[in-house]
């Protein structure tokens, strides 16, 4: 356990962008919130607050730049994490320590799929609370001429729950892509980027030209879509799952109290795509461990 923890610290020493990028987003956003706009105290008669959906939307939107930044640096990290050590031959130093290849690969995976995403989540949650406090001081958000509240602890907690769930689902769903990126990193002699992006596209194009079919394309779309374009595009079923699991309030009167409709989590856990994806991830990771263990081109 101590070894694994040190192995993960070592990753954060090497790939500083993993923690700098989310922190930078936090600083920029908070700076923006604190300096833009003007302070305007509401002086009219007290009016009942309406829907807190602007607050919810703000919370959702607040997380987006954090996850985009984290997503980009994690992809770059996963592609470099097993290639860089071979490129600079430092793998000979790392492998001269009593750390198994399994521990090393596991530490890298955990950094990319657990440490950075959940730390980013915590950072986004914390800063959203700070930003709300600043905004409450500086602005009034009006909806239909009525003041919308900028803070509601229960809503905040619930939204964090939604995002934590969504994040976990995304991570499980995208685990095979993370494993594939690590495989490209462990495999490539020159450019892990080429290995990550070119073969799926080429194979799909060849299939389409030769057989006129698009089976591979569909697998690629499902399996490697993150690599090409779906990093910014929620999978249909996934969006459905999230939506159903922790619904956003649809009417002001609802106030976000509608009980979760059953089926989201269960459906997801029962979906073969999820489990096949995780199985593929596990197999690719085994291959990654073997590659690191038996390759000696450093």
């Amino acid at each position: 356990m101590k070894v694994l923890a040190m192995q993960m610290r070592r990753e954060l020493w090497e790939h500083r962008s993993l923690w700098i990028a989310p922190l930078l987003v936090a600083l920029l956003l908070l700076g923006g919130v604190a300096t833009l706009g003007r302070i305007q105290f509401y002086e009219g008669p007290a009016r009942p607050a309406v829907a807190n959906s602007p607050f919810q939307l703000m919370l959702l939107g607040w997380g987006v730049p954090f996850y985009l930044a984290a997503g980009v640096v994690v992809v770059v990290y996963l592609l470099d994490c097993l290639y860089g050590e071979r490129r600079d031959r430092s793998i000979l130093f790392w492998r001269s320590m009593p750390v198994s290849d399994t521990e090393t690969v596991l530490a890298k995976l955990l950094v990319g799929l657990v440490v950075v995403p959940y730390a980013t989540f915590a950072l986004a949650a914390l800063t959203s609370a700070i930003a709300s406090a600043i905004l409450a001081l500086r602005h009034h958000v009006l909806v239909n001429g009525q003041i919308a509240p900028l803070w509601d602890t229960l809503t905040w907690l619930r939204m964090q729950g939604v995002m934590l769930y969504g994040l976990t689902v995304l991570l499980l769903w995208y685990a095979p892509y993370a494993a594939y990126l690590m495989l490209a990193s462990a495999w490539a002699r020159r450019s892990p980027y080429a290995w990550a992006f070119v073969p799926p596209v080429l194979l799909a194009m060849c299939e389409n030209m030769v057989f006129g079919t698009n089976y591979l394309g569909r697998i690629v779309e499902r399996g490697f879509n993150q690599v090409l374009r779906l990093a910014f595009n929620l999978n249909q079923q996934l969006a459905y799952s999230i939506g159903d699991a922790v619904p956003l309030p649809r009417s002001p009167a609802g106030g976000g109290t509608r009980p979760p409709a059953g089926g989201g989590v269960t459906e997801l856990l029962l979906s073969p795509q999820l489990w096949l994806g995780l199985l593929a991830a596990a197999l690719m990771l085994l291959l990654v461990i073997r590659l690191r263990r038996y390759r000696d081109d450093a």
């Binding site: 192995q7 090497e14 031959r89 000979l92 001269s96 009593p98």
Partner: protein
């Protein structure tokens, strides 16, 4: 004495290239074992096999463990310095110490700090900012602070200036005398480690050319500076190597009685470097001899 490293029938191919060909030898505990060979002779491949860093045919047992299978377990007992290039350039010096302390159960931080205190290495500097000599000093400080039974050094002083090379071997030797260690090192700068070694293994084109204890060498090998007029008589005793030095023939003999040779000129034990050149040339013919002579110089 117990063998720490037992290599038997070790063969390694890279495609059509036979890098190691049926190599067999043992390393006993407490020895300083020198693997000597030209560039590309197979030294590094052999070390990698011993360290479990490559696949191979045959058997390589280190502390009773099969190297290729049990690398991680083995690395608690072994320390390894490849050459100056392998410490990652982005790593900070204090982080390097933190890291080894975090993953190595036998690391003694105070000892590493003590060795580093005698150097000009900045604690918070990155390795990429250090000179080659400093990187080697740092690596040695990290490695010597690990209480490992076997130290493996692959061309550890490559590219260093004379002062750093001397310092390196002085530190290494005083540490060796303090502790129960076995050292396995490769080099092609034979003359530098000549007085350090207790055993030598000459390797050429993946084959073992000589495997001997240094203390046995003077009994086994003799160098004769042939006296004027004795050339033919000396040649009749079948030297395995012969060259001219300042117009006088110098010949090397294996297993010839010293008294017999003494009648033909001046006899002494050959330096390991000379023996290396002679053995390699005898194994490969005159073209290789010239190349090996250049190498040893």
């Amino acid at each position: 004495m117990a063998s720490i490293v037992e290599v038997h029938g070790l063969t390694k191919r890279f495609g059509s290239l036979l890098a190691l060909d049926q190599v067999s030898f043992n390393v006993s505990a407490g020895r300083i074992f020198g693997l000597i060979g030209r560039n590309g002779a197979g030294k590094t491949t052999l070390l990698k096999a011993i360290l479990g860093l490559t696949t191979y045919q045959g058997s390589v047992r280190v502390f009773g463990l099969e190297a290729a299978r049990d690398r991680a377990a083995l690395m608690s007992e072994i320390c390894f310095i490849a050459d100056t290039g392998v410490l990652p350039r982005w790593l900070r010096v204090d982080h390097a110490i933190d890291y080894v302390e975090g993953v190595h159960p036998r690391f003694d931080r105070a000892r590493a700090e003590a060795v580093l205190a005698g150097t000009a290495i900045p604690r918070r500097g990155r390795i990429g900012e250090l000179s080659k000599g400093m990187i080697t000093q740092l690596h040695l400080a990290l490695i010597l602070a690990i209480d490992a039974r076997l130290l493996v050094l692959d061309e550890p002083t490559l590219g260093l200036d004379l002062i750093y090379r001397r310092q390196f071997y002085d530190t290494l030797l005083s540490d060796y005398l303090d502790k129960e260690r076995t050292i396995l090192l490769t080099t092609h700068q034979v003359e530098e480690v000549e007085n350090l070694l207790t055993d030598v293994l000459f390797i050429d084109h993946g084959r073992v050319v000589l495997d001997a204890a240094v203390e046995d060498l003077p009994r086994r090998f003799l160098q004769l500076e042939v006296a004027v007029g004795k050339r033919e008589a000396a040649r009749a005793l079948k030297p395995f190597y012969s060259r001219e030095v300042f117009g006088r023939p110098v010949m090397l003999f294996e297993n010839q009685p010293r008294e017999l040779l003494a009648e033909l000129g001046e006899v002494r034990a050959p330096a390991i470097g000379d023996l290396f050149v002679a053995k390699l040339s005898a194994a490969a013919g005159p073209a290789a001899a010239a190349a090996a002579a250049g190498e040893a110089a």
